[in-house]
């Protein structure tokens, strides 16, 4: 394939602005997929993704397009995930492209989340083609949205295709723009091999399949390759592209995007952002931008039915095959029994893993509130790294506790600077900078404890900026803080799964908030239940759950029996998700109560 006929690009869009629909139309228009075979939105191949409207797994599809200039082009459409947890993966997929199609909904305009990815694309020197979608909607505001794109992002919209991905209007223009404006790949086919890994997944027959972009050189089946980050070497057994079904190739040329198999056993060995070269003629430098991703957020996952502990382990092992950033190890909780402490890239990643476990492996889970890793220096000089607040030793043995701080970059329209700063201040943030990206957009930079971000920062940020702000963060260092373990006692018993680490300035407030939340979440029992928060054995907050409870069907006559029996069956199902602490039944939500403490900050 001659390099000059290759176009590598991604589609960037806000959720619901029509990314997947446009991808579908492009596949149809290039006859890659017959419309009758199309499951709508082919690129999102997991149900879960479709339901949540987000794309988690990366994927690349090769298309052939016969352009108006009479030439036949090879397009590689590279899909990107769209959430802060996966920023790094997004940046690597973008690094595999020369251009991006930015889809903006004509009725909604530019949204904050889009901006973050647009900037990421611009950082990666991509040519960005704006496309205005949903022009067929009655409330489309094409001129306004064009102006917004020019003003807020600084892209020229004079040639922007005006399309409706849903009805297929002007898809042809999009394809022509891709040919015209996105540059062909520029690498040197004669140079030593440099291939960028931008995704990987596990195949039970062939081992790990890596999605790669050849930046320089050529790769052939039978080549001996080396991963530059860890020095591991493999023999390439298969190469190919997807269209969207796999098509095997003998080689991948400079500028091409495809996949490789090399009998690699674990996704852990195939790191996104790593560079592949050949052992015979290695390149001197890896491609820039490689980072090793570490889990930032931990939580305990427990089967509601303790008998399913082994099923949970099997399921986690299977998920890990395809998800190198998921880590887990066994732990036990007095309240919850046997389970696993799991590490995730961020909160969304945690959510997705939990949902997949429940849906694909049919497990009922109880998840504890997420935590970061604390460094606990003991009075005897030893230092422990602790990812479970319940394991922090009693205060008399603790010299100091350090917690991870991140550098947080919040991008937002300028009018929300005030509320953002107020929020960061309340979350123990340290002001660093405000950068005006242009007259309307700012980037607010703060150093924040990661634990505060894990707590409820993102929700609050969204609500105080009407959803316009986006957040990106990276770990900077551990800093010691005035932190203490707060225990929760229900009916006099410490519930280890409800322990948390709190800053002493917030201890009383958090204590009273959690007890109040638990009072709302734990159903009344037949006896009064005290709910207490305590630090170092000292009770700092208390509420009582009153002993009233009514749970009986008001009416049950001859015609009602079947239906009422179903209600009881449902209650029985719900009961499976309860855990007993002593005699008290505690529902799943209670274990997440630490997270959603309502109106804590006014």
């Amino acid at each position: 394939m001659d390099q000059k006929y290759i176009r590598n690009f991604s589609i960037i869009a806000h959720i619901d602005h029509g990314k997947s629909t446009l991808a579908d139309r492009i596949l149809e228009a290039t006859k890659t997929v017959q419309s009758r075979d199309m499951v709508s939105q082919i690129l999102d191949d997991l149900d879960l993704e479709r339901e949540r409207g987000i794309t988690i797994k990366l994927n690349a599809v090769a298309l052939t397009y016969d352009a108006d200039d009479g030439n036949s082009y090879r397009f590689h459409l590279i899909d990107t995930p769209g959430h802060v947890d996966f920023t790094y993966e997004v940046s690597r997929s973008l690094a595999a492209c020369e251009g991006a199609v930015l889809v903006v909904d004509a009725s909604q305009g530019v949204e904050a989340q889009t901006l973050a990815n647009v900037y990421l694309a611009i950082d990666n020197n991509l040519e960005v083609i704006p496309v205005i979608n949903k022009i067929d909607l009655p409330n489309a505001m094409v001129d306004y949205v064009k102006q917004e794109i020019e003003h807020d992002i600084g892209l020229d919209t004079s040639n922007a295709p005006l399309i409706s991905a849903k009805t297929g209007i002007n898809i042809h223009e999009v394809l022509e723009s891709i040919v015209k404006y996105i540059p062909a790949p520029s690498g040197d086919p004669k140079a030593p091999l440099q291939a960028l890994i931008f995704d990987s997944y596990y195949d039970s027959y062939r081992g790990v399949i890596a999605a790669i972009r050849i930046k320089n050189g050529t790769l052939k089946v039978g080549d001996n390759i080396r991963f530059m980050s860890n020095g591991n070497s493999y023999l390439v057994t298969e190469l190919g592209i997807r269209s969207p079904k796999e098509i095997n190739k003998q080689s991948l040329g400079c500028g091409e995007v495809g996949w490789l198999a090399a009998s690699i056993k674990s996704v852990k060995d195939v790191r996104v952002g790593d560079t592949i070269t050949t052992t015979d003629n290695p390149c001197k430098q890896p491609l820039p931008g490689y980072k090793q991703l570490l889990p930032m957020v931990y939580c305990g996952l427990y089967p509601t039915d303790n008998g399913r502990y082994n099923d949970l382990r099997d399921a986690l092992e299977k998920l890990q095959l395809n998800d190198a950033s998921l880590v887990f190890e066994a732990e036990t909780s007095q309240a919850l029994g046997f389970g696993f402490r799991c590490g995730f890239l961020g909160l969304l990643h945690m959510d997705v893993v939990q949902e997949r476990l429940e849906r694909e492996y049919n497990l009922d889970l109880i998840a504890t509130a997420p935590s970061v890793i604390y460094e606990v220096k003991l009075t005897n000089g030893k230092t422990l790294r602790i990812d479970n607040p319940a394991l922090v030793p009693a205060s008399q043995y603790v010299d100091k506790i350090s917690e991870p701080f991140v550098s947080a970059k919040i991008m937002s329209p300028a009018e929300y600077i005030g509320p953002i700063m107020e929020l960061c201040q309340k979350k123990r943030g340290i002001y660093k900078d405000i950068i005006y990206l242009d007259e309307k957009r700012v980037m607010v930079v703060y150093e924040l404890p990661l634990s505060e971000i894990v707590f409820d920062f993102f929700d609050r940020l969204k609500s105080c900026t009407k959803g316009y702000a986006s957040l990106d963060y990276e770990l900077i260092e551990y800093r010691s803080s005035s932190l203490q373990r707060m225990d929760v006692l229900i009916n006099g018993e410490v519930v280890d799964a409800l322990a948390s680490i709190v800053h002493s300035d917030f201890a009383y407030q958090r204590g009273s908030n959690i007890t109040r939340r638990l009072k709302e979440l734990i159903p009344s029992q037949l006896f009064e239940i005290p709910v207490q928060a305590a630090i170092g054995g000292r009770v700092i907050a208390r509420t009582n759950i009153k002993a009233y409870r009514k749970n009986v069907l008001a009416k049950c006559y001859g015609g009602d029996i079947s239906r009422k029996k179903k209600l009881l069956e449902k209650q029985k199902e719900g009961k499976k998700r309860m855990k007993y602490v002593g005699e008290v039944e505690i529902p799943q939500e209670a274990f997440m109560a630490l997270l959603s403490m309502g109106e804590e900050i006014k």
Partner: protein
């Protein structure tokens, strides 16, 4: 109850459903539709057909419910009573009546055909509350209803009340009870409002009073009515003296009954039959929507579920004989657990809920499920 020599009276109760109403209440999830005279004529025609298939001609109890049976006009009501006149109601013959559609003629009609008990859909005596729940009658209709019943000489009167509406206070509820007591009704059914998805309230996401308030109301209701001679004999039912609902007792005793009409259910031995809820099907004489053969386990569970609703509970000996089992042994885990929690007790041969257990019957029943 001896069966020798005579034609076996297998089925004890007969239920007849009239699905029409003059207006639809916000909380109602029964099979019902707005009354139309021509539709009602057709319905009665097909109801007659369904009734003609019943071989047995004598029941302990006959019950005409709805919907609103009195939404039928006098002619239609007479036709209904006429077609039912071939069935003998040995102990009790009840009809549900609603104040807004009741009158002197209808009172005399039901008396003439031997109805000896009425169940009146009062719901509340408070007019603003009635409007809130979407009822169309007022207190004058109620007064009139009682006068017509007096004139017709029907003395066995039950009323339905509801509590749990947003605008209701405990004082409102007690005022309703006072009024009922003063009217000397023989029986009171009082229901804690339940919001079902396919009702007007369900669709509007109506929020009822909070659980704690309803619980206090319920306790106060039980106390107040007991004090005035109305003994609670089932979760939501109170009888003055001996005036329990004989027909409804059949359900709670898990006896056999036959239901006819739209959406009616029957249970005859181990077969439950659910009639269609679809008018078109019904008017094409496709009465039955579903027939379920109940396993022994299901029969036992359903019997427990229904029996425990009654304050008297389960007659253990009778139960063991009927289902050829040993209840206390079979469910010893559930029973012991709930006795230990103070929710169940075994007393003079009966397994029953305690004063505490009666409020949490669902929790108890879940323990009896497999």
């Amino acid at each position: 109850m001896s069966t020798k020599g005579t034609v076996q009276k297998m089925i004890k109760g007969l239920y007849v459903h009239i699905p029409f109403c003059n207006s639809i209440c916000g909380y109602c999830d029964f099979a019902r539709c707005r009354y139309s005279s021509s539709l009602a004529d057709k319905y009665l025609m097909h109801l007659e057909k369904e009734l003609s298939e019943i071989k047995q001609d004598s029941f302990y109890t006959v019950y005409i419910g709805g919907g609103t049976p009195t939404s039928l006009n006098e002619k239609q009501l007479e036709r209904l009573l006429e077609m039912l006149s071939r069935f003998k109601a040995e102990k009790e013959y009840t009809i549900e009546i609603n104040p807004e559609s009741f009158n002197r003629e209808k009172a005399l009609l039901i008396k003439k055909y031997g109805v000896n008990r009425v169940s009146i859909g009062i719901q509340s005596f408070n007019e603003s509350l009635l409007a809130h729940m979407g009822r169309k009658h007022n207190s004058k209709d109620v007064d009139n209803t009682f006068r017509y019943l007096d004139e017709a000489g029907i003395k066995n009167r039950s009323i339905d009340l509801i509590f749990g509406f947003q605008t209701q206070s405990l004082a409102n509820v007690i005022t309703d009870l006072q009024k009922a007591v003063r009217l000397n009704v023989t029986h009171i059914s009082i229901y804690d409002l339940e919001i079902y998805p396919n009702t007007i309230f369900g669709i509007k996401r109506y929020e009822k009073l909070d659980d704690e308030t309803c619980f206090i109301m319920y306790q106060s209701i039980v106390e107040y009515l007991n004090l005035h001679g109305y003994r609670q004999y089932e979760t939501s039912n109170f009888a003055f003296g001996r005036y329990q609902s004989q027909h409804n007792r059949l359900y709670w005793k898990y006896e056999d009954y036959k239901g006819v009409g739209l959406s009616a259910s029957s249970k005859i031995r181990n077969i439950r039959t659910d009639n269609t809820k679809n008018f078109v099907d019904y008017l094409n004489d496709r009465y039955v929507a579903k027939t379920i053969r109940l396993s022994d386990e299901e029969l036992i569970f359903e019997a427990i579920m229904m029996n425990l609703r009654m304050n008297e509970g389960i007659d253990i000996k009778e139960f063991d004989k009927r289902f050829n089992c040993n209840l206390l042994e079979k469910h010893h885990l559930a029973i012991e657990k709930n006795i230990a929690k103070g929710l169940l007790e075994v007393k003079s041969g009966f397994l029953k809920t305690t004063n505490k257990g009666i409020f949490v019957l669902n929790d108890i029943l879940v323990d009896f499920m497999n």
